[in-house]
Symmetry: C2
Subunit: 426 residues, 2 copies
């Protein structure tokens, strides 16, 4: 199989090295060689591993190259990448991509084009690095009705929250971010990761495969970790929770939940043990029950491993529907607004330290039929007391109305801090 | 696709129910129906889900039935099952099996027969229930050189050790086993699980796929959990370890380690968080690094999920080499005896409480170049002191010789208790 690689960055380097290192192994597994016939990149790469191959500074040349059977799109972004993938498919090539933004935003069009051309567009590396979550959902769980997918799908935010969550830590978000940047786990401009956009692209893809619905990136709710306070991590820890930046997609009678936000989970859950830059995705389904898949979510090796698994599949002639369901079988399920989602909640309130305050607060929650699961009252500082409450499951709209009522009650001195809690048993 | 199911037990029932419940979903995913045309079982099943289908009490009839395209072997054992699978393959049918013993002991012959017949013999359900570890290794990690596979691959032993390991637990092996039997997690005759044979079958399969070697069930080292003492779980816990019954296969310059035994691992490892009847398999490879896959390892739903994933693959026309490597590419790697394997070790010694004993013991270890990593000395009871030592990595043969020396030293009053420690970083 002859491949052309577009992009000459970290992942491309990893792929070129892996193809060379494991050449014999691959031939024993698939029976034919994978040959790199051309590498395209706007800037000529300086890494020595690229030297042996024909190079062009026009990536579109690779899409036009008649000796390329499969184009590997690793240039990123959604402008040139979109044009490039379109051109390759139109030229009768299959495409392997690691580009989550491209799939989340333009997948519908591109899968249709691939189908028309009798080609494949595959993207295992687009979600969660080395974790084969696309294959697991499209193939291994194909006999299951999937109810929810919940995952730690961004290594940068997980690293930052892990640093802030260490026992006794007083590390702030800003300090943890600076450390992540020093270690190369966060970009100089970290917006894309810490505001949750990267995770939102990935979750959009996972949701569509899980439920056979359309890619609904425009409808996803996304909240980053920039506002997370160490204090809340500590209080929630006292109540047996850990904070993770989760992507959650779940199907219910009224539609699909599709949301990325800081989330508290029981400290005994496996996802609570996934630290640092590791990724992990849990799938809840009717027959397999709960299966969890963990691994490094980024980096040259892990991402190249997934790109190569797609290439191996193509070599072996597998033809799996791109999103797990046959063309024409996807349905247009409504995506619920965050206000319609049900969660348990963690609330932190600053209140004036005067008599009867706790009873007035709990009465307001009671008026909205919100049951309290646990309550922590911290000693007052300068006559301001801190109260932490976790609640039973309730629709977020109701919780918001109750919070408005609390904030206008006279007892509550600052905006109430709210963190959603996810319960895997529900 | 027309299937015939042999066996009418728990897993068959789960499969029949799953095919019925998710009929539409499956058709949206694969584009054609999966029809059950015959069910065979020595004893007529009483469960109502089987009533709708043609039944025979001669399983071999299913293998001869010309309308059956794929035979599902769920009768278990290795006598009739071997004859049945042979007959089905010879009759030009592909076979899906959940039978780990059959694959571990007769896989070589059967895969060859399948190859000759142009049929497939697939077995995702044979290892670790719902966890798609066969697919992950054969396909998702196909571009990787795999270095080791380490897993909790028997739910019964993991449940028993979890019960014995609970904080403050004094539950003995016998008590935990009785509880497992009450809950249906252990058979009336639990030998197969607690002595490690079940795990040995599974590990044999994983090892062959990981390294492209032959199925070497006759060479595996297997130690059960019947001798595990709560006391050692507690002492090891004080040193930061948890006890798990692990299957470990690892490749080195001299050959393949292939061993199932109680093993101490760092309490911060993900595998240390896998409790009760859950299974988990970690694969260590060159590009993907460490990936971990967890899920329920047994039960009607999880096993049926994996059987059905194999069926879906067959419907979609995938043809993956049975053991991940093309026929003729498997090599005959030597399997190391347990004495040749390198481990860290945990030792518990009962010694006479007299002066200089610690220095004499550590000197003996030093004579064998065995470095001590940690040491616990417990207060003597009736002039007998307990010493717990963990060591650096050493070849087991050397450790055995050192232990003989210790036991004949006059200070050591009982046989030394030895538990292997696995370090994921090495």
């Amino acid at each position: 199989m002859n491949i052309g690689i577009c992009g000459a960055g970290t992942v491309s380097g990893g792929l070129v090295r892996l193809l060379s290192k494991n050449e014999q192994l691959l031939e024993a597994r698939i029976g034919k060689p994978i040959n790199i016939v051309q590498i395209g990149s706007r800037n000529k790469p300086s890494q020595p591993e690229f030297e042996a191959f024909a190079f062009t500074d026009d990536v579109f040349e690779v899409a036009k190259n008649p000796s390329v059977d499969v184009l590997i799109e690793l240039i990123g972004g959604t402008d040139d990448a979109l044009a490039l993938v379109r051109m390759a498919l139109q030229a009768g090539k299959s495409v392997v991509t690691a580009n989550k933004a491209l799939i989340a935003q333009h997948g519908e069009e591109l899968f249709q084009l691939a189908e028309q051309q009798g080609q494949q567009l595959v993207f295992e590396a687009a979600v969660a690095g080395s974790i084969p979550i696309i294959k697991v959902m499209r193939e291994s769980l194909a006999g299951n009705e999937i109810g929810a997918v919940v995952g730690i799908i961004n290594g940068t935010t997980n690293f930052i929250l892990s640093q802030m969550s260490k026992p006794g830590s007083t590390v702030s978000f800003e300090q943890a971010l600076a450390e992540a940047q020093e270690l190369g786990y966060a970009e100089a401009d970290p917006t894309f990761d810490v505001e949750g956009l990267d995770a939102a692209h990935k979750l959009t893809i996972l949701s569509a495969i899980a439920f056979g619905t359309r890619l609904s990136f425009d409808a996803i709710y996304t909240q980053g970790i920039g506002e997370v306070q160490v204090e809340d991590i500590r209080f929630a820890g006292e109540l047996g929770y850990r904070l993770r930046h989760l992507g959650i997609t779940r199907i219910g009678p009224d539609g699909v939940e599709l949301r990325v936000h800081p989330t508290l989970i029981d400290e005994n859950e496996m996802l609570a043990q996934v630290d640092d830059v590791m990724n992990a995705v849990m799938v809840l389904s009717d027959a397999a029950s709960q299966t969890l898949h963990c691994g490094p979510g980024a980096g040259a090796g892990p991402t190249a491993s997934s790109v190569l698994s797609d290439l191996v599949d193509l070599c072996r002639g597998a033809t799996i529907p791109a999103m797990g369901f046959l063309p024409g079988q996807a349905v247009d399920l409504p995506v619920l607004g965050i206000e319609q989602c049900r969660s348990h909640f963690y609330l932190r309130l600053r209140v004036a330290d005067r008599s009867g305050v706790l009873s007035r607060i709990t009465r307001i929650l009671g008026d909205f039929d919100i049951s309290i699961e646990a309550l922590l009252q911290k000693d007052p500082v300068n006559d301001i007391a801190t109260i932490v409450i976790t609640t039973d499951q309730v629709v977020e709209e109701t919780m918001n109305t109750a919070i408005q009522k609390l904030e206008s009650s006279g007892d509550v001195l600052e905006s109430v801090t709210l963190i959603r809690i996810f319960d895997f048993g529900e």
